[in-house]
């Protein structure tokens, strides 16, 4: 073992708590002259990259997580005795899923038999999409009775949860406001909340593309790419597909994946020849894909 392998970790400990003497500092620096790893650590400590105290952003993250814990446990006074469904054993979750599916199917077929409808598939899709999105149905006249799973359940446990939880559209609007106010980190956090909490909602799709654009502009091309691909996987012909396709190609360019970027631009031109991005896509294809 060479002297370089014997790292002065005790001196680093003393430096961390501010009790390093001048002589010890000299010893530490002498070691760092010949050891790049310790020099890196010294520089790391000097630059104080990670603050020892929570930042404002940490506080916001903490507050959000705390609210989620409260919601997950539903009744704050009984925190230690409750379990979030996230920790249910796998067999319970599978069993619950099977039971839920059976109930939905039973309700659906029972209703169809009772009403004698001629369009069961169409009505089922509407009911399921309402249930998944969890958003209130748009107002308007309808002769159909409301889907069974959208009827408000007068449960004392369910009410506060709905009341405390901001809707997907409210979160999306807040994210957009934060973005307009140049608060990128807050905007990112809110967009992520929409995606996490309402993954099947239309607002989550909008959030995927918006967050992708934001990441792209902040030079996080790989994260942007994942978000655009996630959107396109869910909405190949969605309203934001042109934008997602174009910026997916731009993200690929930034990552140095030129060939895939070219293919993506061609896909955009084939799928949306009249797109607002078509001219830029053609220009990038002919210009050698330069920024």
């Amino acid at each position: 073992m060479t002297p370089v392998d014997l790292h002065p970790e005790d001196l680093f400990d003393a430096l961390r708590v501010g009790s390093l003497s001048t002589v010890e500092r000299g010893r530490l620096e002498a070691h760092c002259e010949s050891c790049s790893a310790c020099r890196f650590e010294l520089q790391w400590l000097d630059s104080n990259i990670y603050a020892a105290e929570p930042t404002q952003e940490d506080r916001e993250y903490g507050e959000t997580a705390f609210d989620r814990v409260l919601r997950a446990t539903r009744r704050a006074p009984d925190l230690p005795d409750t379990q979030t469904p996230k920790y249910w054993p796998l067999r319970w979750r599978v069993g619950g899923l099977a039971l839920g599916t059976s109930l939905v199917l039973a309700l659906f077929f029972g209703r169809e038999l009772w009403s004698g409808s001629a369009h069961p598939v169409e009505r089922d899709e509407r009911a399921v999409s309402r249930a998944v999105v969890s958003e209130p149905a748009p107002p308007g006249p309808s002769r159909d009775p409301p889907a069974i799973d959208t009827v408000p359940v007068p449960s004392p446990l369910a009410r506060p949860r709905v009341a405390n939880r901001p809707s997907a559209n409210a979160l999306l609007a807040a994210a957009r406001r934060a973005q307009i106010e140049d608060d990128s980190s807050r905007a990112r956090r809110l967009y992520r909340s929409v995606i996490h909490e309402y993954p099947a909602a239309a607002a989550a799709d909008a959030a995927r593309v918006a967050l992708g654009r934001l990441d792209y502009e902040l030079a996080d091309a790989r994260s942007a790419l994942l978000l655009f691909e996630d959107y396109l996987h869910r909405n190949r012909d969605g309203a934001l597909a042109e934008e997602a396709l174009y910026y997916r190609a731009r993200s690929l360019e930034r990552l140095g994946r030129k060939h895939e970027a070219q293919t993506a631009l061609r896909t955009l031109l084939q799928s949306f020849p009249g797109s607002v991005y078509a001219a830029q896509a053609r220009a990038r294809l002919t210009d050698g894909h330069r920024e």
Binding site: D5, E9, D10, D13, R16, F40, E41, V69
Partner: protein, 204 residues
């Protein structure tokens, strides 16, 4: 050589309202648990963000998991350190688990945009900090779990050898050995990072 930052239990008559809150929470008082969790949530978030990186998609879930773990671990709090340090350790452990659980290396690297040029409005100093963070996180990905955990606690959370030893439940010499091995890997990688090495030489 160093003081570990561990706080001893003060005498009964010197106890602050904060200590009373901790006592009540440890004893299982729901309102005290709520108040304490709310107070410690930013620290938990800070640790999780440091270990996972600021933009990890699992960040929200990890902070939530850490808060739940802390809540469940409160009855085991032995007062051999401050409650904040206790929360810090639990958060670190949860975040390290989350980090090693299901994330591909490429996905983690993506959080730090190493392949991209920085936008023009990011200054040199900030860019260098981003590169240093990315470097440390990339080192984690190449190390075996025990070494990665030791380096994470050391670099990201500023733990002393003794604190790492307590946090990972390993003898202090084992921790020392893990850090030594990790630094060997770090040295090898630093040779491939001329920009970081240049900046180090330039500052010294």
């Amino acid at each position: 050589v160093h003081s570990s930052g561990l706080s001893q239990l003060p005498p009964r008559d010197e106890r602050s309202p904060r200590d009373a809150l901790v006592d009540a929470a440890v004893a299982g008082d729901p309102a005290a648990i709520c108040a304490l969790l709310r107070e410690l949530a930013p620290e938990v978030a800070r640790v999780a963000r440091a270990v996972l990186g600021p933009h990890d998609m699992a960040l929200d879930d990890t902070i939530q998991d850490a808060l739940l773990s802390l809540m469940n671990a409160l009855p085991s709090f032995r007062r051999d350190c401050s409650i904040r340090r206790y929360a810090n350790r639990i958060a670190a452990r949860t975040a390290l688990l989350a980090r090693s659980r299901s994330r591909a290396v490429s996905e983690r690297e993506a959080r730090f945009s190493l392949d991209d040029r920085p936008p023009p409005y990011i200054g040199d100093r900030h860019y260098l900090e981003l590169r240093r963070k990315a470097f440390v996180h990339r080192i984690f990905d190449t190390l075996p779990e025990p070494q990665a955990a030791a380096i994470a606690l050391r670099f990201l959370l500023g733990y002393s050898l003794e604190e790492i030893s307590q946090a990972v439940d390993a003898p202090i010499n084992t921790v020392r050995s893990r850090i030594r091995l990790a630094k060997e890997v770090m040295r090898a990688h630093l040779e491939n990072e001329p920009e970081l090495l240049d900046s180090l030489l330039g500052r010294r």
